[in-house]
Every structure is written in structure tokens, then in C-alpha cells.
Amino acid sequence: MSAIPHDHAVGQNEDHGHDDHGHHPTGIMRWITTTNHKDIGTLYLLFSLTMFFVGGCMALTIRAELFQPGLQIVHPEFFNSLTTLHGLIMIFGAIMPAAVGFANWQVPLMIGAPDMAFARMNNWSFWLLPPAAFMLILSFFVPGGAAAGGWTLYPPLSVQAGMGMDLTIFAVHIMGASSIMGSINIITTILNMRAPGMTLMKMPMFCWTWLITAYLLIAVMPVLAGSVTMLLTDRHFGTSFFNAAGGGDPVLFQHVFWFFGHPEVYIMILPSFGIISQIIPTFARKPLFGYASMVYAVASIAILSFIVWAHHMFTVGMPAAGLLFFMYATMLIAVPTGVKVFNWLATMWQGSMTFETPMLFAIGFLFLFTMGGFTGLVLALTPIDIQLQDTYYVVAHFHYVLVAGSLFAFFAGAYYWLPKWTGTMYNEKLGQWHFWASMIFFNITFFPMHFLGVAGMPRRIPDYAQQFADWNMVASVGAFGFGLSQLIFVIALVKCIRGDGAKAPAKPWEGADTLEWTLPSPVPYHTFETPPVVQ
């Protein structure tokens, strides 16, 4: 990605805010010591892609085990560890870092800032991640194995588990610190470093979604850190916050965890909304329909996300008033989400559309995310959720939201901005193959899970009854197809990085109108040192 030469800079101003102009480390030291937002964005994105494949291999092992009933490939304990670590790695190692990578690359370029506000802290934010990921993976090899109680780390299993749980808690702490530092950087950059004339209400939607996401992170990551700290003290320091044996309340952990966990869902999806809101107007060659309503919809979703956490725990026992409140509050989120989907469709309406790979992924996102949203609405209904709790219906729902939602949007964003980042156009044929293979195999994998869930197949089990065999076989075949399809993206990416393709012009997309497209491709190492003025 960064085939960007170090001395390729634009702008004349000598007050750079950080000191990497005069002496440029090269080789590995460039990447370790870099304070440049583009380098750090590249690091985040490559890290996230690596972790995506690590988590993906775990998913494929899970699906291989579930190909047919009975225990064939892995022990049940290891299977439980795989489901737990697959979730943690995909959420904290793949999706969130990818979103931060896009923010690092794009936010300064889109608001006309020379870099992030705290460049050195930005470097730290990234370099905390690899040790945390290493610890998570290392936990497979310690006595007792990796955490196996699910990514939600519910007690009592998490209080009783072995040393792998301590490594997981430590990793979560470190990744939380990284996210908080990244969020502070993004909020400060957006609030203080916008180019003259770039009012908040003129900002590209991607920046808006990230500003709100960063606030969500600031509010909820400390809650997660607090809850796992209490878990740690329960495990080792004799407290009994969640330990029922000492008078603690395990259900309390669920409340605290989901106070983090539900906004976390929006932390993973809001940046994707931002990317889609950039891509659809570009390829429809029309301005985004209802910009202000999009901003307010994102803010509404973020605020509502704080008051719906208990819909994840309808079955733990709650007063009827509580059930009703959380059910209606959850259903309320469909309103701002519906506004967004309506506005994306209205943007496309009578647009002069073309269907290059970014637009295909954006439309795929729109179609599948809406399906995931609808199944979320089904799960919001308390009586139905009580039936479907912890079944494969839930697995299908959140994979429609997070894979076809977040991941498809990130692929859309990657294809959209790769020409700007690398200076080389991606191979359109490979991109189209990647999209169609992903779209088909994704649905083969996850659509049957709705049937399995409705039929009552519980999640997180290595074995199942005979009547679930057929759809599990289909899902496993689809999963391997989906996994292999992602190799097409790697090929397209490597070709771009190596410059194997047509040279990208400054503005390869006719309908693009944000500030980054005023810069040459590949984007210079230093940009907007003299701020542009936005009319």
C-alpha cells in the first residue's frame, strides 16, 4: 500500500508539528517509528487483513467440524476455544482495526488536515495491537488452553477458566487502551484540525460517522475495561463482583458487558455506513440524499445504542416492564437505520449509475445489511427472542450485519481508495470476481443458518442432532468457498501494491468530490501542510 516515497511532499509550510521530515528511517524502522497517518493507516489495514485470515482459519476449522454430526476433527474444549477466539479476533483484531485504518488514511485527507492531532500517540495506538493479538493466540498454548466461554466472557466460566483467560483479559485491556487512544486522536483531529471553511455540516459523511464512533468508543471501552478488571480481581484478588460463590452476581456482568457490547455493534457498523455514504453518491453521480438527516440518523443510532443492551439477555429473567422497554427501544433503532437505507436508495434513484467493484460491494452491503437488520428486528421481539436465544438464527443475524455489513463495506472502501493509496488501479475483473464469489458463498454459508436456528440448533456446540445435518453441510461448503474467495482480494491487493496495473489518475472516479481526490495518486507522503480552503 505505501509505495509512497518519503520525500514526496506537497505544501510549503515548515511548521510540521512532528519531526519526521529531516531524517527518514527506512526499512523496518520506518514502519516501527512512523508517525505519518498514511503509514499507520497502512499498518492498521495490513494487521487487520492478517487477523481476518487468522480468525477466518478458526472459522473454517469450526465449519469443518460441523460439516457432519459427531466429533471428527477437534476436541469439544478446543472447539469452544475456537468459537471464543474467532469472535474476539474478528471483532478486536480484524473489524475494529480495519475501521481505524480507514480513519487514519482518510480522515486527515478528507478534512484537509496535515496529519492526526497526536502523531506519536497514533503510532502507539497501532503498536499496542500486535502484542495483544499475540497474547490472544498464545493463550491456545498455555495450560488449560484459550478462553472457551464465548467472546462475551460470561462468568462463572470466565471466573473458573485457566490461564488463557488471564491472557485474554490482558489482551482486551491493551486493545481497549489502543482504541481509546485512537478515538482521542480522531475526535481531536476532527474537532480542531479541519481546513478553513470545512464546517462540521460540510464534512464528508465518513468523518461524521467516525466522529460519532469515536465518542462511542470513549464511552464504552472503559466500561469493558472496568468489567474485565473486576473479572480479574474476582479471579485473583478475592473479590466477588460476579462470583456467585462469594455473594456476587454473574448476571451483573452481563448487564455491564452488554452496556459495552451493544454500542460495540454500532462501533463496527457506523464507519461502514460512512464508507457506503461516500461510495454510493460517487457511483450514482449525485450528491448524498438528505445529508443532514444522515448525520442526525447516525447520532440517533449512537444514542439509542446505549439504552438497548438488555435485548441480548431477555432470557436471564427481567421484570415485564424491563422486557417491554428494551424491546421497544431496540425496535426504535430501525427508524434512523431506515432513514439511512432510504437515503442511500434515494441517492441512487435516477442516478447515472455505474457498477464498478466498490459500487457492487456497496449495493451488496445495502441488500444484505438490510436483511441482517430485519432479522435483528425479529430478534428484538421478546417472545420470539426467547425462542431463538443462542440458536443459529442469532449467528446468521450477526454475520449478516458484521460480515455482509462491515466487511463488505471495508472491501468497498478498499477498492474505492486503493487507486489513491497506491497510485495503481486495481484489476476490475478480479474485483468483480471477488464480489460475486463473496456474495454467493456468503449467502450459501449464512442463509441456511436461519433455518437451523428456527429449527432449534443451538450455537457454540461441536456436535448436533441428525436433523440439522443437511443445512450444516451446505453452510460448511459455503464457508470454504467464502474463505477461498478472499484470496482473490489478496491477489488484487498485491497487484496494486506492486504497481501491476493501469496508473491511477488523481481522480479515477468521475463522481467523487471529497478533498482527497484533489491530491495526486499515489497520495504524497505529506499532504495539506498548507490547509486548503473549502468554499
Partner: protein
């Protein structure tokens, strides 16, 4: 079109503004971290978290609201 900035004063002002914003945001994070543990100690998590959440929402409204027209 580009805007010229004066390196000395504008740079210092920006650094101070950045630091102020970062400290305010970091304070929210610390409040939530301490708040969630403290509220469990006190035994009334609903009140504790509501106070913290209200404080944060007011901060957000002020912080983003005052920037809307800038």
C-alpha cells in the same frame, strides 16, 4: 485554493486546543472506567452509571453543538 497559517502562534494555539480536547475526552474515558467499578462497590449501579452517562451526554451536546456552525 490554500490558506496561509502563521507557524508560531497558530501552531501553539492548535496544540493547546488539541491538548484541551484530548484531556476532556480522556476524562470521560477515565470517568467511565472508574464509574463502572465504583458503582459496583457502592452497590447501586443504576444511579452511578446514570450520573456518568448524563454528564457525558451533556458534554457531547455541548462539544459537538458549539462546533456545528464553525
Amino acid at each position: 485554493m490554500t490558506a496561509q497559517i502563521t507557524p508560531g502562534t497558530d501552531g501553539a494555539r492548535l496544540r493547546h486546543a488539541n491538548l484541551r480536547t484530548a484531556l476532556a475526552v480522556a476524562l470521560i474515558a477515565v470517568l467511565f472506567f472508574v464509574g463502572v467499578i465504583a458503582s459496583q462497590f457502592v452497590g447501586n449501579s443504576a444511579v452511578g452509571m446514570s450520573v456518568v452517562a448524563a454528564a457525558v451526554l451533556v458534554f457531547l451536546a455541548v462539544a459537538i453543538g458549539r462546533n456545528l456552525r464553525k
